[in-house]
Each structure stands twice: as structure tokens, then as C-alpha cells.
Amino acid sequence: MSKKIYNKDQVIAGLVIFIALVSFPFWYNLGKAAPAPKVELTKQAKEAKFCVRPTEYMKAEHMQLLDVWRDTVAREGKRIYVNEAGKRFTMSLSNTCLDCHSNKAEFCDRCHNYASVDPYCYDCHIDNPKEKK
């Protein structure tokens, strides 16, 4: 014997409305996913071809690299980075990274905004070393 649902019509209607509301963000935004941002390289960066480390590594791990850089520079006083190819770089966000990638808005910010990360590096480190202001 099946159990009876009291106020069946209202309950079912309520459930339908509830599910519709909860799933609203999913079906409303269906197919409207923001496309992955395209970063623009400056002329200087394009000509260099190779960053401090391979591009794939930089894409995925630049934050770890910068974290190691900051500790090494600030605490150990070692300021030169020698990469696999033996090329030397001064470990400096403003003076090395942003010297080549001088288009922070089109390079750094696009991805950071897309990923909704807000690195506070630029509270202190000058973000436009080349821009005259």
C-alpha cells in the first residue's frame, strides 16, 4: 500500500520551483563560459622567445618561482638567477619580469582577473617601471 502525500499538488509545485531556483545559475549561464584569456606578448618578449624558464613552466609555476626569488633575494642576498641554459637574470619583479613584460594590463592582469586572483605584489613593487608618469 502506497503512502499518501498530504497536499500533493502544493508539495510537487514547491519542489519544482525549488529545483528551478537552485539550478538557475547553471542553466542560465549554460554555454556562456568566459573564454580563456589571450595574453599579449610585447615585442621584446616575442623576440626573446625564451623566458627565464620554459614557457610551460612559467605558465604553471611562475608564482612558485617568484616566491623562491623573493626569499632568496630578501633573505640570502643572492640576486642573480642562472637558468638551465646558463643565462643570468637579476631576480627582480619590477626590473626583470616587467622590463620585458612591460604590458602588465594585457599580460599579467588578464589571466589574474580571469582566475580571480589578486596578488598583492604590486602594493609595493612598481608595476609600470617603463611608463613615464
Binding site: T72, R75, G77, I80, Y81, C124, P129
Partner: protein
Amino acid sequence: MESSRREFLKVAGVSAVGMGIGTQPVLDAFAASGGESGEAKAPKMVRGENALTAVHWGMVIDTRKLETAADLEPLIEACHKVHNVPHHEIKRHEIKWIWETEYHHAFPGKSNKYLNEGAEHRPFLVLCNHCENPPCVRACPTKATFQREDGLVLMDFHRCIGCRFCMAACPFGARSFNFRDPRPFIPETNKKFPTRCKGVVEKCNFCAELLAEGKMPACVEASNGAIAFGDLDDPESEVRKLLRENYTIRRKQTLGTEPSVYYIV
């Protein structure tokens, strides 16, 4: 079987040695896989070739050559410009790395009732003493301020939580707190050097960033020879020569912090 303590220890010892040898290749393999890719040389971090190094950096200020406030002005200006030190009109927000004060304040306990003209009226240049035994470093709960091997007492602003224990610990008032965002108050920004943000403590860094490039500190460069900078550990250095030839004093020496800044008066 006669199983004695002696037998047990023998077996235990032999197996411990065996395990030590046996696991070594495994550990090596782990260590090798840690340095990613493996085939190319791992990147390394080194000091610059031109970097100036010392066992214990120190400074000798010849106050006889810095008679008036006008003599000190360019030195202070040079420092504050190169390090993006903000200029706050409100005194309690003031940030200072190097500043002038009078003899009585610089050297309390060394001021006699009747002083010679020079000491009485001359302005004295004061800055972080980069103490050998720095109380600020002991007070810091996050190790944001630390003593480097070459004696420099430095700030790692990334770690500073702004508790200001170091300011309370420093007997020289050499540390300033950023109560406000300093950026709008920097007259002319040096793009090569970072600024600070609200909520961190800052102080003189003996121009660690210039030493790393093989340059002398900014105040030393601007002083026309009134300030000498060098290795206190090297008997042949300029600072040690000056210390040999002149009578010098240090600030609040009785506290035992062993300042690295000496004054010829």
C-alpha cells in the same frame, strides 16, 4: 636459545647498518627526481659578481665634517630618494631611515653638563645602527627582521605583520611604521626600488641593494668623504684605519647592542 640482551643488540645494530646502506639508492633516486626534468643543469641562484662582501659591515661618521643641517640635508635626501621613503607632513606618520638629531638625544649618558661648542650645536646624523646584537630581531615574532651573515639587520617586508614589537625593542628609534599607504607621499619615485605598503615597519638597510651591485651606500656616496663604510672585521679596511686613528663613540653602548655605526666627534 640463550637470547641475551647482548645478542639482541648485535642483531639490531647489524640490521640498522644494513637498512642504512640498503635505502641509500632509493633516497638518491628521490633526490634526483626532485630537480625537475633532470637532463639539463638545474638552475641556481648566486650572488652578483660585483657584489661587495664583508664579514661585518660598519660605518664611521666623521661629525667634524658635517657641521650644519645644510651639510646633512643632501645625505638624507639621497637616501630617502633612492629608497622611496615617503614624506609625511604629519609628524606622527613620519618615516625616517636617516635623520638628524642633537648630541643630547643621540648620546644620552655621554652628555656632560658643559659641552664643547661642536657637540653642543652640531646636528648629528643618526640611522639604524645595524647592531651586532640586535634587539629588534629578538623581538620580531615572524622573523621578518633578521640579521644577515655580513651583519646587516634587514627587513623582509613580505613577512612583516606590523606588530611593531621591533619598534618598541629598538633603543634608537630607528624604525618607522607605515600608518598610511606611503605611495601618495613619495615625492619622486625611484622605479628601480619597491615602495612599502600600509602596515609594515621600515628602516635603513645599509643599502643592501646597492652593495649587491658593487656600489657604496647612498649616504656614503653623497657625503664627500665624511662617512666611511667598510668591513669592521678587516684590520686593513678604511673604517678600521679611521677607528685606529680617531677617538670614536657609539650610541647607547651601555645597552650592549654593539652598534656598527661609529662617530668621530
